[in-house]
Amino acid sequence: MAEVETPMQRERATTIYEKSKTGRRAAVLPAAEVPERPLEELIPAELLRSEPPRLPEIAEPEIVRHYNKLSRRNFDLDTGFYPLGSCTMKHNPRLNERVAALPGHARLHPAQDPKRAQGALGLMWLLQESLGEICGLPHVSLQPSAGSHGELAGLLLTRAYHADRGEERSKVLAPDTSHGTNPASVTMAGYEVVKVATNERGGVEMDDLRAKVDGDVACLMLTNPNTLGLFDENIAEIAALIHEVGGTLYYDGANLNAVMGHSRPGDMGFDIVHVNLHKSFSQPHGGGGPGAGPIAVSERIEPFLPRPQVVRREGDNGNGPSFDLDFERPKSIGRLRGFQGNFGVFVRSYAYILSLGADGLAEASETAVLNANYLKARLAEGRAGDRLPIAFDRHCMHEFVLSGKPMKKELGLATLDLAKRLLDFGFHPPTVYFPLLVEEALMIEPTETETKESLDAFADAVEGILAEAEDDPERAKQAPYTTPVRRLDEVKATRRPVVRQQLS
């Protein structure tokens, strides 16, 4: 086990504004070519600004250097293992970038007349169909911009569905293992969240659920497999309970990568599903976006889908089918955003689905589950097995959760310390301190695109860090050492926030 040999750039951070010098510039603009008039003749002086914004003044070569240097202060998936639980850090194929950049996609105006955007609308329709088949639900809207946006959409759909039946409900159930976006979305949608407990097998505690299900429940939000990486075996019974009281069942698709081609949320009884295209369908995460969160819904929810909806119209007089935007949706919840959604993401994800095909998607999920169980088995050996026990001891799906509780008690090492020490060995740490019900949690999702060698190396690093900590726990507690900066004062950044550069 060796620490990374070439530390990422360690020079003091300098912002682009600090590199600015009056009179320097990069851009040269085209000449106006038209007769020019004083600005004040065209726009009243009181509506004009007196000083231009203080953007940096800097030549192109230095802009390039500045951002290239900054890039080297990032860890990224193309460089190393990124087992961040519930984030599905799988390989981002470069082909997808290439096809998204084709001018027919990249320079297509969103208000283009549908008859001159048949390729784009056709692609969206094909993606809708593909996601519908993968989710086992017949109707898809691509509009939501991310998973959380899909959740909000799902809750607004639920509200519209009940309102249409003359009902008003106030509660949304979500397990205590749910992603933070779930309860946040519930509040934004004007509902009250009610937590449901987890049983000893890591699934929904059925007695608790039964006690909380009543006619005031609008929806149950569930991730399956859940954030413990476990498939809830009682899902059919759960669905029946919710449907009996007239509620909807919402599937948080963050963990869809576990079941593609093996099991479908629609078949499990879910009414509404969001799909994170930036997780299961290989859209790069971009350091925090862009993504997309299409939703697939059942027949009874369909009338309420956001508008516009991409539709396929049969051709007449021997013409082939055509694609259109349907705005005539009287029961629709309306728009969730401008135009038609994150089309560039749709191109990438559709390319991914075409590349893998039906068999490839199923194989991807299979390998994701194999990799997760293998890494789980590796981490059940040796020191890790003693200090980092599995939270729920059964086969997992695509991810699993360990508890650092014994490590903390016996070695004085918190999960955070282990995470920070992993940085020194070139690994991105797992998701930490989530889900909340597992003490000192480490949530590990290797994805299908990692080799056995990567998984072994990660397990060896964890073992090495635990061995090191037996002799020298301080080493991990002060880690990391090889990164551009070391542990940062987050409290200061929050108490007295400095959120922009001060300029003179």
Binding site: G180, P290, S355
Partner: protein
């Protein structure tokens, strides 16, 4: 078929042995049998990379993009030139492939970009606090509604009809969730009706929503319009086109509490509507109610300067149902594109670009007004987009222009029945004088043809639109 996995049969055998099962199928045994799909997905077989490329290229070829048609369409997204360094930098693996920077020690690049971006947006808008970006424009408007409700405890929004129709509709969609109502204020001579606005604002108003320039391209008198909001303790929310902020008085100087907008004009391509980003800036007193990520400056244990996600206690992953917003994945890479574009333009270039837009737009507006059958829809000052009325069915005229390789503009009748004859025309630095002249000629010919005044040979496509 393409695969991105690498487990060999030997790997699989070793891994299964380590797990202690005979097959992967056994691992899927936790899924109850009736819920197993038991058949292949009804999707095509996988393909090779070359085949996928050809398939996608064939789809792309069925779109008339801005290389094929000269694009005068705007309505919130514009055909600007994106400098080459934006592509080069945003396609770097180190920016393209990381997750949200939850581990700041190995995410200083992305975090510093956020800090620089926040500084730039703060400079543009004249407001002290910016977040690191939201999804896009209209949903940012809806997010401002949510903030305004929390800040004022009121549930009524007064909304100018000059606000982008998509923004108004998105705000209305969200408002159903959090139980707010919208009151719309109309336009007069292209600008928000000041009297009607003043009459509509009262002590129950959470926020007043304006757009500047408004959807018809008119530069609004934001400060005067916002006075009613100030008087009644409502927030003033102004949606702005960032490309106009090199020359227009920034919203922060006009009394705006929140300035936000669609970021696409900055360093992002059209992409048929996304991904782009939304920006969201506010006064200092709203900092802890802000939605989305915010990078903050701090020090590490050795005293070295660094950046972290600040005030995460606002956010869903910490605060859950008490979060200020549900947003998680946003648009970091798109915001990076904007930052690189802004650095490339620089302080002078950004102002010059704004002036260039004003000059070319003034020319285009006059040139079009001189065409028989084209009248200005309003006389208000404009920066880069303006509205005209056509004395012929707009859809027919657009179709005739399209056949000549010109996307002449955005038909206002789609969302404004009162402007059924209206056309919104957008100018960027890519639209040359020659193209503007072509547009005038094409519009004139199309209107004349629609009025049956003289025949036009629609098969002659030689001189128009390509230069």
């Amino acid at each position: 078929m393409t695969r991105y996995t690498s487990a060999t049969p030997d790997d699989r055998a070793e891994m299964l042995a380590a797990i202690g099962v005979d097959s992967v199928d056994e691992l899927f045994g936790q899924i109850p049998e009736p819920l197993r799909l038991g058949r292949p997905l009804a999707l095509p077989e996988g393909m090779s990379e070359a085949e996928v490329f050809e398939r996608l290229a064939a789809l792309a070829a069925r779109n008339a993009d801005a290389e094929e048609q000269v694009c005068f369409v705007g309505a919130g997204m514009y055909d600007h030139y994106v400098p080459a360094i934006v592509d080069a930098i945003t396609q770097r693996s180190e920016f393209l492939t990381p997750y949200t920077p939850y581990q700041p020690e190995i995410s200083q690049g992305g975090l510093q970009v956020m800090f620089e971006f926040q500084t730039a947006m703060s400079e543009l808008t004249g407001l002290p606090v910016s977040n690191a970006g939201l999804y896009e424009g209209p949903s940012s408007v809806a997010s401002a509604g949510y903030l305004a409700m929390a800040a004022t405890g009121r549930k009524r929004f007064v909304v100018s009809r000059g606000l982008h129709p998509h923004s108004r509709e998105t705000l209305a969609t969200y408002a159903v969730g959090y139980g707010a109502e919208l009151v719309e204020v109309g336009l007069r001579d292209g600008e928000t009706d000041a009297e009607a606005l003043t009459a509509a604002v009262d002590g129950e108003t959470a926020a007043v929503f304006l757009q500047n320039p408004n959807f018809l391209g008119a530069v609004e008198r934001v400060e005067a319009l916002g006075a009613a909001a100030k008087e009644h303790g409502a927030l003033l929310v102004v949606a702005v086109d960032p490309m106009t902020l090199g020359i227009l008085r920034p919203p922060g100087e006009c009394g705006a509490d929140i300035a936000l907008g669609e970021g696409q004009p900055l360093g992002n391509r059209l992409d048929f509507g996304g991904p782009s980003f939304g920006f969201f800036c506010a006064t200092q007193d709203q900092i802890r109610r802000m939605p989305g990520r915010i990078a903050g400056e701090t020090d590490d244990v050795d005293g070295r300067r660094g950046f972290v996600l600040a005030m995460q206690t606002r956010e869903q992953h910490i605060r859950r149902e008490k979060a200020t917003h549900n947003i998680c994945t946003a648009q970091a890479l798109n915001a990076l594109g904007a930052m690189v574009h802004l650095a490339w333009l620089g302080r002078e270039g950004f102002r010059e670009l704004g002036e260039l837009l004003v000059q070319r737009t003034a020319y285009a507006r006059e040139r079009l007004a001189a065409v028989e059958g084209v009248e200005p829809l309003h006389e208000a000052p404009v920066v880069r987009e303006f509205a005209v009325r056509l004395d012929a069915p707009v859809d027919r005229v657009l179709e005739r222009c399209a056949e000549r390789g010109i996307a002449a503009g955005y038909p206002l009748g789609r969302e404004y029945p009162e402007y059924e004859d209206g056309l919104l025309v957008a100018i960027t630095e890519r639209r040359t004088k020659a193209q503007i002249d072509d547009l005038a000629e094409a519009l004139g010919a199309a209107i004349a043809a629609e009025r049956g005044e003289f025949p036009v040979d629609m098969t002659d496509k030689s001189p128009q639109g390509i230069s």
